[in-house]
């Protein structure tokens, strides 16, 4: 994985010192809150419902054990013993003291981490496929390009005050595991007919109040022009994005209003101009970055079989394990969704344990997923049973990846100032309901996502079943959506009809799954059945 050079480290250390001074001046009254607020936000420090919340960047979700241990230490020393892994592959702490924030940033900097650009109208954490570098279906490892984009976008003077926040995802597999088309820019690394590797650009996607699927604006950009093309995309947005109205300020609105063709025309014009300016980083820099993403020292003699005689282990293998490119190895998904748990939360002890297990069994590497789970990307099959036993003993053995119990949920009204309704209790009740009725296995792949407000941090638009919490005359109300999908066949969910109260939405979800079980044909997922039969039968059952 990438390691800081002296420039990276100096930048982060300098920022820590700068923020320490800014915080001191705020506490001494030399800065007003209006003056200080943009400074703390530039360092990921929000003021949320109960306290200050710190969002720490995990670039493309990749971490090593030392970094993970520091995240646990922060939870223990400065917070209330836990951290919350987010849909942006980051981690958040909910109970930070302002006076501690500079020390936390210093602790992060000591392990090459920071909270820079995790807030504000700038390019946010670059996200990627959580299986990057390990997936069997991968063209190349996309992370060197994600890292190059990170370096390009960090402190980029032209893009620190964009019309709105800006999110980029990079993948290199045919299977989209990063919701790429629901980003401001989605980049898929592809091979063209001539066998050359390049990048396809999808621009103008996103969820929130106006969800849009990003259209493809260019099917092949040579990789040695990746930054130049990205810069062109951003420049056109920066020039014309709606700064007069924050609700219309995202690039998806610009692309929609200009039209894909006109936006693309302007990007191509800017791109042609930028190519004359020589802004692309030198190949030597890309090669330097690439050298940090070489394969670990796999045991080429590793056995390729698994003993599945323990049925609980066999179930976990069936649900939570993904094929690895290297024979004898697998990708292990650690679900942070125990039945009745808080999606994405992990205790300091659990974070420490996952770090230890990564060190022992996964070449010192972990990943955070946009589905709020953790991945150990390179596990020898021979070690898998022992690994699972250790996870299970710590409450991390839930066998539910991509099932109805593997729910994405934003913090909702329990923690978030923007939320209108609570998300977590709904997730808890749904996972408990399906654990009790025993239908989780029968339902198979069913992605359920819950947001506590229209901002869609819980990705409800992209859930096979989505739930949106709204405020209805001062009480929580939950709308049900069906038919969303975040992958290759990205689609946006449609609202079924009037909303429900907290228990009613749980019943409605169960009724919707009942329609699926009654109507499905061989091999169909919930989403496939919905797409085939449409909304009506679901509505009939849900509102009967």
């Amino acid at each position: 994985m990438y390691r800081y050079d002296q420039y990276d480290q100096a930048m982060v250390d300098t920022r820590v010192a700068e923020f320490r001074d800014q915080t001191r001046r705020r506490l001494e009254g030399k800065l007003t809150e209006d003056q200080f607020k943009p400074l703390r936000l530039q360092n990921g420090l929000y003021l949320q419902l109960h306290a200050y919340m710190l969002r720490v960047a995990v670039p493309y979700g990749t971490l090593n054990a030392a970094q993970m241990h520091v995240l646990a230490n922060i939870a223990d020393k400065y917070d209330r013993g836990y951290g919350h892994f987010t849909t942006r592959q980051n981690i958040q702490y909910n109970w930070i003291k302002l006076e501690d924030a500079p020390d936390i940033l210093a602790d992060l900097a000591a392990v090459e981490m920071h909270a820079i650009q995790t807030s504000g109208n700038c390019i946010r954490n670059i996200s990627s496929d959580q299986f990057a570098g390990a997936a069997a279906d991968e063209l190349i490892d996309p992370r060197p390009y994600a890292e190059l984009l990170r370096q390009w976008s960090s402190f980029h003077p032209e893009f620190l005050t964009l019309p709105r926040k800006f999110k980029i995802a990079v993948i290199a597999s045919e299977t989209d595991r990063a919701a790429m088309k629901l980003h401001d820019i989605g980049i898929r690394i592809v091979k063209n007919a001539a066998g050359e590797i390049g990048a396809a650009f999808y621009v103008g996607g996103g969820m929130g109040r106006t969800p849009m699927i990003a259209p493809l604006i260019r099917d092949f950009v040579p990789l040695d022009q990746l930054i130049t093309y990205s810069e062109a995309c951003l420049r056109v947005y920066n020039r014309y994005g709606r700064r007069d109205n924050k609700y219309k300020a995202r690039i998806k609105i610009l692309v929609h209003e200009l039209g894909k063709e006109e936006y693309t025309r302007q990007v191509e014009e800017e791109f042609a101009h930028l190519l004359t300016q020589g802004i692309e980083p030198p190949i030597a820099e890309l090669e330097r970055i690439k050298a940090h993403f070489t394969d670990p020292a796999y045991d080429t003699a590793a056995a390729d079989d698994l003993d599945l005689s323990d049925p609980d282990f066999a179930l976990w293998v069936e649900r939570n394990i993904v094929a690895h490119k290297q024979p004898g190895y697998i990708i292990a998904n650690i679900s942070l969704k125990p039945v009745g748990g808080i999606p994405g939360d992990a205790s300091a002890e659990q974070i420490h344990l996952m770090a230890d297990l990564a060190k022992e069994y996964s070449f010192d590497e972990l990943r955070v997923t946009h589905a709020q789970n953790i991945v150990l990307p390179h596990v020898r099959k021979a070690d898998l049973y022992t690994l699972w036993q250790k996870l299970d003993a710590a409450g991390l053995g839930a066998a539910n990846l991509d099932t109805v119990e593997d729910i994405i949920a934003c913090p909702g009204l329990d923690y978030c100032s923007l939320a209108n309704a609570r998300s977590i209790p709904v997730a808890q009740k749904i996972s408990q309901r399906f654990a009790e009725n025993g239908k989780t296995a029968e339902l198979g792949e069913l992605k359920l996502k819950i947001s506590g407000c229209i901002n869609a941090c819980g990705h409800h638009h992209a859930g096979h079943i989505g739930i949106l919490g709204v405020d209805k005359k001062g009480t929580e109300n939950y709308q049900l959506l069906l038919g969303g999908c975040e992958g290759d066949d990205t689609s946006l969910g449609k609202i079924t009809g009037p909303g429900f109260d907290e228990d009613g939405i749980v019943d409605a979800v169960e009724k919707a799954t009942g329609v699926y079980l009654a109507e499905r044909t061989e091999g169909e997922r919930f989403l496939d059945t919905y797409r085939r039969i449409g909304m009506d039968k679901f509505k009939e059952a849900i509102y009967a």
Binding site: A51, K97, E99, I424, E476
Partner: protein
């Protein structure tokens, strides 16, 4: 009644105006009548509190004061999904007050 809330500047803790200071317990909150703006301006200026605002509330028997909106009741108690993190971790019925 109108009561004042905000976050303690240093710790970020949710606090309520008692008439002369800030308390983490909503039951200590007092009706400020039409004095909200003046108090908030003074307290923000003195850096004792951050992101402060006035809300509607009503007297609530033995509990003292109940904010009108669920968001402020969650702020007053703590997250409904982590009783151990609330101000009343030993009271299994505390969450019912929020809903």
């Amino acid at each position: 009644m109108k009561i004042l809330t905000g976050n303690d500047l240093k710790s970020g803790a949710v606090v309520w105006w008692t008439g002369h200071d800030w308390s983490i317990h909503v039951e200590d909150a007092v009706d400020v009548g039409d004095q909200a703006d003046a108090i908030l301006q003074r307290e923000e200026g003195a850096r004792r509190v951050n992101a402060s605002y006035a809300i509607d509330a009503q007297p609530d028997g033995e509990r003292g004061v109940r904010p009108a909106h669920i968001k402020d009741r969650i702020r007053a108690l703590g997250p409904t999904v982590r009783p151990d993190l609330t101000l009343k971790p030993a009271d299994p019925n505390a969450g019912n007050w929020v809903i």
